[in-house]
């Protein structure tokens, strides 16, 4: 794993600090620690947040109280021993696959297409047949309930060693730590549901028309105004699908001759959008502002590698929370670099909007920076708002440009009215406009859940990646058989989590991922922790080698 900032020199040779040390270090030095070149902003001193100065204007950090921000620490590294066995485990799987296919070639031949060049060639389909097929049952599971705090899984079995999956008809009730339901708005009762029902009756299911033709309804206009108020920006534009928001808008913002600095773990939609735009993309190490600065500097000095002309414009593209790593982006440093080098900053808040910050305003709110510092704020409504779709927010000029040039505005159907209404209601609840403090309660519940769960999991001796405030909790297991065992065993014990392995992560990065929600109670978290601990003992997954304090952790 890549550390964001190096650890203070007084702890030499130590791969990782334990809980207490981290706390002390981050208090003393904090993130962005005493960087000599920080020009116009000193974010934290001696553990207390001080206002960020922005061109003479002072913006108070969220309700002024001292707040401990993201702790950038080195992730615990994979020991050579474990790495060796992880490779061996893949090696055995592949070897068995090769032997099997040598004696028994795959029978999946295409019908009616004799003499054609095969549709699939290469390693990918071999990997699917021999590795993915064996553990297929851990993914694509069907549910038959709201993806709330509890979830009803449809039990499946495979009559033919994983080639096909069939439903048994039985239902398993599990605690849900797999869905991105951060604020618990995935509900089939309550105000969101009632409002959506009304919207459906009043506005129909779909307009069957793009926004530029006859697809703009009153709800779309209302939603866009609300989003811009929620984020504190001039204007916002919304789309019917979150993935498409990135893919269909980046090409209208960038073109050939533009430079893009993209985080190595950026989401597939960002990568595709950047590729379609034709811009030159340079990848920097995950959340590493020093690497970013080095690469950006070099690229600006040298200009376009082919034509040697200066770049038209440069953009830094990062995410708020990385869905596989659980890291929170180092926004203050990115803003510093962006200003220093006159580039633009694009932050994808797909996972962080709603889930981070004292007001649920995402990573911008979390660090208490001025929303105008981020040129382009993008986010989705799928996660925290329990709906679907995405938005882009920023200056009036930017949004007007997108209204004219966005592919999704011109060719994609507009958002379904009941979905738009769900977002409006959920967002007003978070903003406290519905006359209760339900939104605040959810934000608080989530942040306490996150702190409690992450610390307990670390205390039990698991390696947990990411920042302490991130609701995405990846727990490292390394070996692919352990991932599948964890998923299966946890399901048996009534916990539905997500396992992730190669190729979604690097080979030595196999992990379980828990997504916490405001709908979880402490009792549910305790139950999850207990089961995880037990399964962890079964397959010896307590990899962490740093000493743990035994002090009980309070919710």
């Amino acid at each position: 794993m890549v550390a964001h900032t190096e650890l203070p020199a007084q702890v030499p040779n130590e791969k990782i600090l334990n809980q207490d040390q981290i706390a002390r270090c981050s208090d003393a030095k904090s993130f962005g620690h005493a960087r000599p070149d920080i020009e116009d902003a000193v974010y934290v001193q001696n553990g207390a947040a001080i206002p960020i100065q922005n061109g003479g204007k002072v913006i108070p950090v969220a309700d002024g109280k001292p707040e401990r921000k993201a702790r950038h620490h080195k992730e615990e590294e994979c020991s050579l021993f474990v790495a060796f066995f992880t490779f061996v485990s893949y090696g055995v799987l592949l070897l068995v696959g090769y032997i099997k296919e040598f004696f028994n070639p795959p029978s999946t031949k295409e019908k009616n297409r004799e003499g054609y060049v095969p549709l699939y060639i290469g390693f990918e389909s071999f990997y699917t047949r021999n590795v993915y097929r064996r553990i297929q049952d851990c993914w694509n599971r069907a549910i038959c309930s709201v993806p709330g705090a509890y979830i009803d899984l449809l039990e499946r079995y495979s009559p033919d060693y994983g080639w096909t999956m069939k439903l048994t008809g039985k239902v398993i009730k599990c605690i849900n730590v797999g869905s991105y339901n951060y604020l618990g708005f995935a509900e089939n009762v309550g105000q969101c549901h009632d409002d959506s029902e009304k919207a459906l009756k009043q506005h129909g299911i779909s307009s069957c028309s793009p926004r530029l033709e006859l697809g703009t309804g009153t709800l779309h206009r209302q939603l866009e105004t609300l989003v811009s108020e929620f984020l504190g920006v001039e204007d916002a534009i919304t789309f019917g699908m979150g993935y498409a928001t990135n893919v269909l808008n980046l090409p209208s913002l960038l073109g050939p001759g533009c430079l893009v600095l993209s985080d190595e773990f950026n989401h597939a939609s960002l990568i595709l959008g950047l590729r379609l735009s034709g811009a030159t993309v340079k990848v920097f190490r995950h959340n590493d502002s020093e690497d970013l600065e080095r690469k950006l500097r070099e690229a600006i000095i040298l200009g376009h590698p082919r034509t040697r002309r200066p770049w038209k414009k440069a953009m830094i593209v990062v995410e708020g929370i990385y869905s596989m790593e659980g890291t929170i982006c180092d926004l203050p440093n990115f803003i510093r670099i962006k200003k220093k080098y006159k580039t633009y900053l694009y932050v994808d808040e797909a996972h962080s909007i709603g889930a981070l910050g004292p007001n649920g305003g995402g990573v911008v709110d979390y660090y208490g920076v001025d929303p105008k510092e981020v040129d382009i704020q993008m986010g989705t409504f799928t996660k925290s708002f329990g709906a679907a779709g995405g938005y882009i927010a920023g200056s009036k000029e930017l949004i007007n440009h997108l209204r004219v040039h966005s592919h999704a505005q011109t060719y994609g159907v507009s958002m379904s009215p009941p979905v738009a209404q769900q977002i409006i209601t959920a967002m007003s609840t978070i903003m406290g406009r519905n006359g209760n403090d339900e939104g605040r309660r959810r934000i608080l519940q989530l942040s306490r859940n996150v702190k409690y769960f992450r610390q307990r999991l670390r205390q039990k001796g698991f390696i947990v990646y990411g920042h302490d405030d991130s609701p995405v909790v990846p727990m490292i297991l390394y070996l692919i058989p352990k991932i599948s065992m964890f998923v299966r065993e946890l399901t048996k014990r009534g916990v539905a989590g997500v396992g992730v392995g190669f190729p979604a992560t690097r080979i030595t990065g196999g992990r379980m991922r828990f997504c916490l929600s405001a709908a979880h109670t402490k009792e549910m978290l305790d139950k999850i922790l207990e089961e995880v601990d037990e399964v962890g003992h079964l397959c010896s997954a307590h990899y962490s080698s740093i000493p743990k304090s035994k002090e009980p952790i309070e919710w």
């Binding site: 509900e187 007007n400 060719y411």
Partner: protein, 473 residues
């Protein structure tokens, strides 16, 4: 102990070796040194001082994020707002409701109470969002059922469901066609297909609109090339991408001829059936049904659910061998949250309706399409009509173009505005002309629906006639 002895031994051996041996060793060592140092040639890169670097950075003035911000009166910034449902008649806030000839719900199924009820029932059970991609607990029973129903409806083995129409088409094509492959596509294919072609990084060969002979010419050229380099040809997959009825022209593709070429030149055929899903063929199964072509002749059918199905999303159907691949390789499928279950539930109801009353509804639609076609072709000859008579999508174009796209569009927009005053809602087809491979000429896109009455058609005709006469002298 042993190491010491070994060192001693080798030292002894060195002393005993003859001078020719030492010389050889010396040369070898020199070679090694040379090998290491040879790489350290002074590079041609000019080293800049810190100050020069800073100056260069300070000197660089990037373009603004938005170089040419659109004017406030740009038509795209002043779109019409629809109040309430987008149905047969829509409320554009001008007082009276106007007749809708602009949106794509050809069978008006979105207005059927049972479809709405199905969506509501699902909302009561599943809430709105699915909160996850299909892989991570975003697959509900509703999604599985809809995929099965779609596959069965098209007599195919498997269906796959996406959560946005545009991304369906734009993800399905690059899931199969990679760099090094060749895609033959009609030059008038819609924008989502163009983006899919772009994302595939394959070589794109456009043939003239609906021109089978031109396509065959191009294929023959390729055969000659293939003969020269058979090794490369054996690793080059070839695809053909067409639309059943073209969104940009309203014309139907000559599928039987295309299928013959597919067989002859070993192409894989992908059809975008967005417009014809539910509106063509004996059992309203689309263009294969219309021409009685067995499904095995076509490799994949893709369509959006944003037309007849009156919902959101899209799907692909075909053999299990082909379609299953998208579950791991269709980017828009893997990396996006799944379709909100209630939007899927409404489509299941739509399929129920199509299976029971489909042929009758379709017949009704075809009659209306023909009537509308006849009416529109008798409009003043300042405009011309493009599109087949049974196509629910028709384009009205200026007969005499001003030569400037913007001006043509402005004229058409004025016609649309006037027509709205006379009681019908139309749209000028929205295009991003600098992004399109071959921008279609500006047009008013007229869509028919099955519930149009004779009176409404003649009203539409009169309104358009009046509007055209008002705008164009």
């Amino acid at each position: 102990m042993t190491t010491k002895w070994n060192v001693y031994e080798s030292f002894q051996a060195l002393l005993q070796a003859g001078p020719y041996h030492l010389a050889l060793e010396g040369v070898l060592i020199l070679c090694i040194i040379w090998l290491f140092t040879a790489k350290k040639k002074p590079s041609r890169l000019i080293r800049l001082t810190k100050k020069e670097e800073e100056d260069l950075i300070a000197e660089w003035i990037p373009e603004p994020l938005v170089p040419n911000p659109p004017e406030a009166d740009h038509p795209s910034l002043n779109t019409r707002t629809v109040y309430g449902k987008v149905g047969r008649y829509i409320d554009l806030g001008t007082g009276e409701k106007v007749l809708n000839l602009g949106t794509h719900s050809y069978l008006n199924l979105g207005e059927r109470p049972e479809v709405e009820e199905a969506a509501l029932q699902c909302l009561h059970k599943y809430g709105v969002g699915s909160c996850g991609p299909r892989g991570f607990y975003g697959t509900t029973q509703v999604h599985l059922e809809l995929e099965d129903r779609l596959a069965a409806y098209f007599n195919c083995e498997m269906g796959v469901l996406y959560s946005y129409g545009f991304s369906t088409i734009a993800s399905a094509i690059p899931a199969y066609s990679k760099s090094g492959d060749i895609i033959y596509a009609d030059e008038m294919v819609n924008f989502p297909i163009q983006k899919g072609l772009h994302a595939s990084r394959s070589r794109i060969v456009f043939f003239r609109h609906n021109d089978v002979e031109h396509l065959e010419e191009l294929l023959k050229e390729q055969v000659i090339l293939d003969k020269k380099d058979p090794k490369k040809a054996n690793a080059t997959r070839k695809f053909m991408v067409v639309e059943s009825i073209y969104m940009n022209t309203g014309k139907m593709c000559p599928l039987p001829e295309l299928v013959k070429l597919r067989q002859k030149y070993k192409l894989r055929l992908f059809i975008d059936e967005s417009i014809t899903f539910g509106t063509l063929g004996e059992n309203c199964r689309g263009i294969t049904d219309y021409f009685n072509i067995p499904m095995k002749e076509v490799d994949m059918i893709m369509a959006t659910l944003e037309t007849t199905a009156a919902s959101t999303g899209g799907f692909c159907v075909g053999t299990k061998f082909v379609i299953d691949h998208q579950r791991l390789s269709g980017l828009g499928y893997c990396f996006s949250a799944s379709l909100p279950p209630m939007l899927a539930a409404s489509v299941i109801k739509v399929i129920d309706i199509l299976e029971t009353e489909g042929p009758a509804l379709m017949q009704e639609l075809h009659d209306k399409c023909r009537q509308l076609h006849v009416a529109l072709s008798t409009l003043p000859d300042k405009v011309e009509l493009s599109g087949d008579d049974i196509s629910p999508v028709k384009h009205l174009r200026l007969k005499e173009s001003t030569g400037v796209r913007e001006e043509d569009e402005a004229i058409l927009r004025k016609i649309v505005e006037k027509a709205e005053k006379y009681g019908i809602a139309l749209t000028v087809a929205a295009y991003l002309r600098d992004q399109e491979a071959l921008p279609p000429p500006p047009s008013i896109r007229v869509t028919a629906n099955k519930d149009l009455t004779k009176e409404e058609i003649s009203k539409a005709f009169k309104a358009l006639q009046q509007a055209i006469d008002d705008v164009i002298e």
